[in-house]
């Protein structure tokens, strides 16, 4: 997959252009670190120091802001909630989308293209349009008469559904790029349709599954709007909602807010940076098809 050291390297910018371009890219990289710097440097500042200046390194340093954020916004339990919701969304989305994509690309039933189109068209719906009807629906599920409001299962179902069009599209495109001969071979060996799915298609789809797992994890981890209205109690609300509630106290405790943002953000960035080589390759491999 990686083309390290192939033709690209032969193309060289003249030095007069190369270094200004590199300088521009360095500036952009610095901008990527800017919010991290703002959060981290101000989280160690005292609120008095904050009023004085928010740039430069803090003159005081203590961890009081972190403990205020931790207690004030129940960051600890929100963190666990965010992890559970994101992992649940990834698992359900991958299962449902992969099955649907298989059905729409490799099972030879007549209406499969219409089903694909039906699953895809909802990609244009702005999530906000769904917010209130989904809220009403969760309060009393039609046909099932259960209340999934303020429940993690409920939000996982919503996240999965809202993102299905995109996921089914990417997965279907990936399956279509795989040659039909593989299926023929499996069929000749006597494999049934579900066996072919489990033992031939899913293993082959691993690059695309990795890409979608990353996209969906980030999406669910970062989602705010649905969570704000649907998840309200401490036992369910994710980090995004918890830190936004810290913002309400911004004027009294800006450094506590910054500490909360640090706790919410740095773990994900840490995981990303540790695995970035792998992740970037996985993303490009799954999309490039």
């Amino acid at each position: 997959m990686s083309r390290e050291g192939s033709t690209g390297r032969a193309l060289r910018f003249p030095a007069t252009q190369r270094w200004p371009l590199v300088a521009g890219m360095v500036l952009l990289s610095a901008s990527a670190f800017f919010p991290l710097y703002v959060m981290a440097s101000n989280a160690f500042r005292s609120n008095l120091d904050w009023a004085d200046s928010q740039i430069g390194l803090p003159t005081t340093s203590d961890l009081a802001a972190f403990s205020r954020a931790w207690d004030g916004a129940s960051i600890g339990s929100s963190f666990v909630n965010s992890v559970e919701i994101a992992l649940g969304t990834v698992a359900l989305t991958l299962a449902v989308a992969t099955m649907a994509a298989y059905s729409c690309s490799k099972i030879g039933w007549r209406p499969r293209n219409w089903v694909f189109l039906f699953l895809l068209v909802w990609i244009v719906v702005p999530p906000l349009v769904l917010l209130v009807p989904v809220y009403i629906e969760l309060a009393s599920l039609p046909l099932l008469h259960t209340n999934l409001l303020d429940s993690k299962l409920g939000i996982v179902l919503v996240y999965t559904s809202v993102n299905l069009p995109f996921n089914v599209y990417l997965m279907t495109a990936y399956f279509r790029s795989l040659p039909d001969e593989l299926l023929e071979a499996a069929r000749i060996d006597g494999a049934t349709i579900p066996e072919t799915f489990a033992f031939v298609m899913v293993p082959l789809a691993r690059p695309a599954l990795a890409t979608l797992a990353i996209f969906n994890f980030l999406w669910a981890w970062n989602e705010f709007m649905f969570a704000l209205f649907i998840l309200t109690s401490t036992s369910t609300k994710p980090l995004t909602v918890a830190v936004q509630q810290l913002q309400g106290r911004f004027d009294q405790d800006p450094t506590g807010l910054m500490a909360g943002l640090c706790i919410a953000t740095l773990p994900v960035i840490g995981v990303y940076l540790i695995f970035q080589r792998h992740l970037v390759r996985a993303i490009t491999a799954g999309v490039g098809k």
């Binding site: 890219m25 990289s29 919010p35 099972i107 030879g108 906000l128 629906e137 599209y169 799915f197 913002q247």
Partner: protein, 307 residues
Amino acid sequence: MASVEAPSAGSPRRSALRRVGRSEWLWGVLFAAPAVVLIVYFVAYPVGTVVYYGFTRWNGLSPAEWVGVHNYRTLMDDQVFRQALRNNFLFALSVPIQLTVPLLLAYLIHVRIPGWAFFRATFFIPATIATVVVGIVAYSTFQVTGALNSLLGAVGLDGLQHDWLATSRTSIPLILLVVVWANFGYNVLIYLAGMSALDPALEEAARMDGAGPWKTLMWVVAPNLRRVMELVLVTSTVTAFAYMFTYIYVITNGGPGFDTNVAEFQIYYQWFTNGNAGYACAMATLLLIITTILGLVQIRVLTRRAA
């Protein structure tokens, strides 16, 4: 597939094929069912209710009263909603930036400019930060006692200090900048994926012909990335109309006045603050029509890509 290849042979063979055909139907339905059920339950049906309530007078609680196109007639003269939509179109100015800047950045990484691996790693960092966190940091930076003004003061540019979020002349360009910044890493990666799928012989041939890196980008790489560019085009257009809520909610709350309002925020405001649920549904339907028109282009692109 099996039925297409079916030869008109003897009956035992044909019944075996029919059995295959039937099992393909059975499994086709079963494998697609979970996705179809979820979409119907949590997307299609809710969209239907929104469209329906758009024709009613409704406060969100008591029974709705059918009023026909009354809400849409009111909508025609709604200056606030018109301004919100105008702001959406202003935010769509991010589209040409998203289309070109990430292409250039991806290309520089692709040709292994010094430090490319570092740039490739860092450009995606903004995409890993939650929108709500990005918004809070932006708010804290641009507010009147924020980091931007401290920085200007520290370097002696006090004259440029300004309440950046107090007027739409500065707040809209700044929010635009934040949205571009938050999303460019995704687009760089998508372009990179497209470039690594290109046939290396193309660039090799350009090099043999003596083309420099700029000419190669303009005449060889970019034209062969048309599908990827279309994908970036439509996703960033939809972002400007359908994914602005969190930015606005956190950075300006639509203010001052309705200056930084967008359609999504106005729908939310009418529904939750004013209790005009029926009217909000009419606005939501109109927004849906706009994104559908934009999305028709998108789906055409996507299905062509998948085919």
